[in-house]
């Protein structure tokens, strides 16, 4: 198994090998790079938002040249601001986090870590990526649609989304949004079927479910969540489309007037129905993003603490509990919709129940690093950053999950700060940790670790400056989607805070350029990576970096132990590979 074996696969040309590939490793890397491109777009949109919020009404003549309608007269248009909010949220939630964590790491890691040669259905896997790329192109097309991009937020609340005449971006822009999300759903479902099938039927000899690395457990549970949640969004999207083009009234109530006084020819629907259907998908979606991040962080924390993960079984059970609970908490997004207070209390109860498995995981992470001689590598720093932001963002979630306090906090920057920390920054840090960690396996080279450390520290301080400050401005009453805070006299005390947030955000954004340069430069110029640069135990570190087609040599590896045998007493080294037979450890 030491030699690089190509098993008589003919060498494919560039296009078949790197572009139209059915190799799970290439597809995973394609997902990661596409998601990075989407992140650049989503990030630039957020920078424009911060420009407006920090210095509302300022003339930016240079930006007028780039966005002639958005900056007509040099000042940002209110509609343009709302479309920035919508597109930033949509791109980041779907096209960055979901794509990079499940699509990217899922494809790259599942066969490598379970000892399989590829996914169960490689062609379906490739189709999943190309459908995803098509959905990326469609959502980017919405930026250039007639009337501009949609304005209704990433949640596409009805009736704003259900009536094309509601706003300039609600016509073609909104249509493209729905098409893009439907394509994304299809892509996610194809991936999910593949992940579940691969993980259940293609584990190598000895790789029992309870020997899987936690990343694999997380991806398995995530795939099941996606299988159950995505179809509901699809159903809602189909009904929404019929409201828009078929004249039906699922989400449009009777007697609705447009801003110009026209009465809309719809009757009888229920705008809140959209919210129920959307959030029935939307809350599991939070965990579709978060669970793989938890799995990646768990494995990396254990690797660099050089200690076994604390309570592996509880990690698996708590992830399963979180996944189950995520389906019965969606009402906490709707406390202000006029729901029965008793129902609100029930949703509060189920929401706060999630704190239990989340706390189990957090204490297990702390237990893993407690008393360890931690190796502060860049992946470890980002994994620790994940735990840190998960705790800060998770704690503010308790206030928002409780209906009594949420009624005061709803639609303020407290919410913006909370969800950015817990479901944007935390998964992003886990994704960074994963990229720095598995980059050698992906490209056979190491990333620059000094640049990585600079990237981490600027990012870590930056996100706290940005999003912790947002909690404060939210408590001061800063409304969530407003275009110009200076319109409200009571917000005067937070003007300075807004500028501080904006400047921090620009620095934070600039640090990501450092990451991108490091990533792409290291693909070609990084120092060559060894087979197992981190002294980790899992199967992907037994094969060359990058692994050849088919991943493993002529024989598939045989797994003898779990993935967390670090610092085993009596062992020759402080890690024991999963393939190491017990006898060979004792004899040393």
């Amino acid at each position: 198994m030491t030699t690089h074996d190509e098993h008589a696969h003919p060498e494919l040309g560039f296009w078949r090998k790197y572009i139209f590939s059915t190799d799970h490793k290439i597809i995973g890397i394609q997902y990661i790079i596409t998601a990075m491109a989407m992140a650049v777009v989503g990030g630039v949109l957020s920078m424009l938002m911060r420009l407006q919020l920090g210095w509302p009404g300022t003339l930016w003549p240079s930006l007028e040249n780039i966005f002639p309608t958005g900056f007509a007269g040099g000042v940002m248009e209110p509609g343009f601001y709302l479309s920035l909010v919508t597109m930033h949220g949509t791109i980041m939630v779907f096209f960055l986090f979901t794509a990079v964590l499940t699509g990217g790491f899922g494809n790259f890691l599942i066969p490598l870590q379970i000892g399989a040669r590829d996914m169960a259905f490689p062609l379906l896997n490739a189709l999943s990526y190309w459908t995803f790329l098509l959905s990326c192109i469609t959502i980017l097309g919405a930026l250039f649609a007639t009337g501009g991009p949609p304005l209704g937020g990433w949640t596409a609340y009805a009736p704003l989304s259900a009536v094309p005449a509601m706003g300039p971006g609600q016509g073609d822009g909104m249509t493209l949004w729905i098409v893009a999300i439907a394509l994304f759903t299809a892509s996610g479902l194809m991936g999910g079927l593949n992940y579940v099938t691969t993980l259940l039927t293609m584990r190598t000899k000895g790789m029992s479910m309870m020997r899987l690395p936690l990343t694999q457990w997380a991806l398995f549970i995530t795939a099941i969540l996606g299988t159950l949640a995505f179809p509901v969004l699809l159903a809602a999207g189909i009904l929404l489309t019929f409201d828009r083009i078929g004249g039906t009234s699922f989400f449009v109530p009777a007697g609705l007037f447009l801003a110009d006084g026209t009465l809309i020819d719809h009757s009888g629907g229920h705008p809140l129905l959209w919210q129920h259907l959307f959030w029935f998908f939307g809350h599991p979606e939070v965990y579709i993003v978060l669970l793989p991040a938890m799995g990646i962080a768990s494995d990396i924390l254990s690797t660099f603490a050089r200690k076994p993960i604390f309570s592996y079984k509880m990690m698996v059970y708590s992830m399963s509990a979180i996944a189950f609970l995520s389906f019965i908490v969606w009402g906490h997004h709707m406390f202000l919709s006029g729901m029965n207070p008793l129902l609100g209390s029930l949703f509060t109860l189920t929401t706060l129940l999630i704190a239990i498995p989340s706390a189990v995981k957090t204490f297990n992470w702390i237990g893993t690093i407690l008393g360890a001689r931690i190796q502060f590598t860049v992946p470890m720093l980002f994994a620790l950053g994940f735990v840190s932001t998960f705790i800060s963002g998770g704690l503010s979630g308790i206030f928002l999950g409780t209906s009594a306090s949420d009624i005061a906090m709803h639609d303020t920057y407290f919410v913006v700060g909370h969800f950015h920390l817990v479901m944007a920054v935390a998964p992003l840090f886990a994704a960074f940790a994963g990229i720095y960690f598995w980059f050698p396996k992906m490209f056979g080279r190491m990333m620059n670790m000094t640049a990585g450390k600079v990237h981490f520290w600027i990012s870590f301080v930056g996100v706290n400056c940005v999003f912790m400050t947002m909690h404060a401005s939210g408590v001061a009453g800063h409304l969530r989607r407003i275009y110009d805070p200076t319109q409200y006299a009571f917000l005067e005390p937070v003007y300075g805070m807004n500028q501080f947030i904006s400047i921090s955000a620009f620095v934070l954004g600039a640090a990501q350029i450092l990451f991108l340069v490091n990533f792409f430069a290291s693909i070609w110029f990084g120092p060559k990576a060894s087979v197992n640069p981190w002294n980790a135990t899992t199967l992907e570190w037994t094969v060359p970096s990058p692994p050849g087609h088919g991943n493993f040599g002529p024989e598939l590896p045989v797994v003898e132990r779990w993935a967390f045998d670090y610092s085993v007493p009596g062992a020759k080294e402080d890690f024991v590979m999963q393939t190491e037979a017990p006898a060979r450890v004792e004899s040393s």
């Binding site: 079927l193 259940l200 509901v232 078929g246 039906t248 009888g268 629907g269």
Partner: protein, 224 residues
């Protein structure tokens, strides 16, 4: 010396306890306890369900959740003040009968294939495809009947659901007919036997599922 009634010379060796691997009992040779795709002789997957059947049930889970989304929308809007029931086209009863009959013929196809009676299986297979197509045609006739009575997609919430639910079910059944066409190519070339017939049984499961789904949707549209 006591009389020896039993043969004590042969030592009873207990069955080796196999390590638990994945789910379910391990119906596999002892030297292979994994599920890798390694095509070595004697290899059997550790997971007790075949890959095809697993994917089929995952797909059906997706279908269930899709229609659960539609159903919950239906149930919530059923309470809206603007809800007005429309008379269901009478042809839906005939269509339901046709679809139920197609499930019976599908089941005969499956059983004849499992038993190895290919000639008989071919006939039932053809009958199933014909009944399935007849059902889809009948659904279109039901739509025409509705439109003839002045009931359109946007007329009332009930009619919107009537068109969309029948349409979505029809799309899924059309997928079933496509699968049937694919599988029937194998049946007519005698590719399946009593030993290897998984595509036929998978097709039958999907078909029965679509049948059950239709009965559910019909009851929902009729009673709720």
């Amino acid at each position: 010396m006591p009389a020896i009634t039993e043969d004590t010379t042969t030592v009873r060796v207990p069955e080796p306890i196999q390590p638990r691997d994945g789910f379910g009992p391990p119906p596999r040779p002892p030297e292979e306890d994994g599920g890798g795709e390694d095509p070595r002789p004697g290899w059997r997957p550790a997971f007790p369900v075949s890959r095809g059947r697993l994917v089929l049930w995952l797909v059906l889970t997706v279908v269930v959740m899709l229609f659960a989304g539609f159903s919950s929308a239906y149930i919530i809007l059923r309470g809206a003040p603007a809800w007005q029931n429309v008379a269901l086209p009478a042809s839906l009863w005939a269509n339901t009968f046709v679809l139920l009959a197609s499930s019976v013929t599908m089941e005969w196809t499956r059983r004849r294939t499992v038993e190895g009676h290919t000639a008989s299986a071919k006939k039932w297979m053809a009958a199933t495809a014909a009944l399935g197509a007849a059902f889809l045609g009948g659904q279109v006739l039901a739509w025409m009947e509705l439109a003839g009575a002045g009931v359109y997609l946007a007329s009332t919430l009930h009619s919107s659901f009537l068109y969309i639910l029948t349409g979505m079910h029809g799309l899924h059944l059309a997928g079933g007919i496509a699968a049937l066409a694919y599988v029937s190519a194998g049946v007519f070339r005698n590719r399946y036997s009593a030993a290897g017939h998984e595509p036929v049984t998978l097709c039958a499961t999907y078909w029965h599922f679509m049948d059950g789904l239709w009965v559910y949707l019909f009851l929902l549209l009729m009673l709720a």
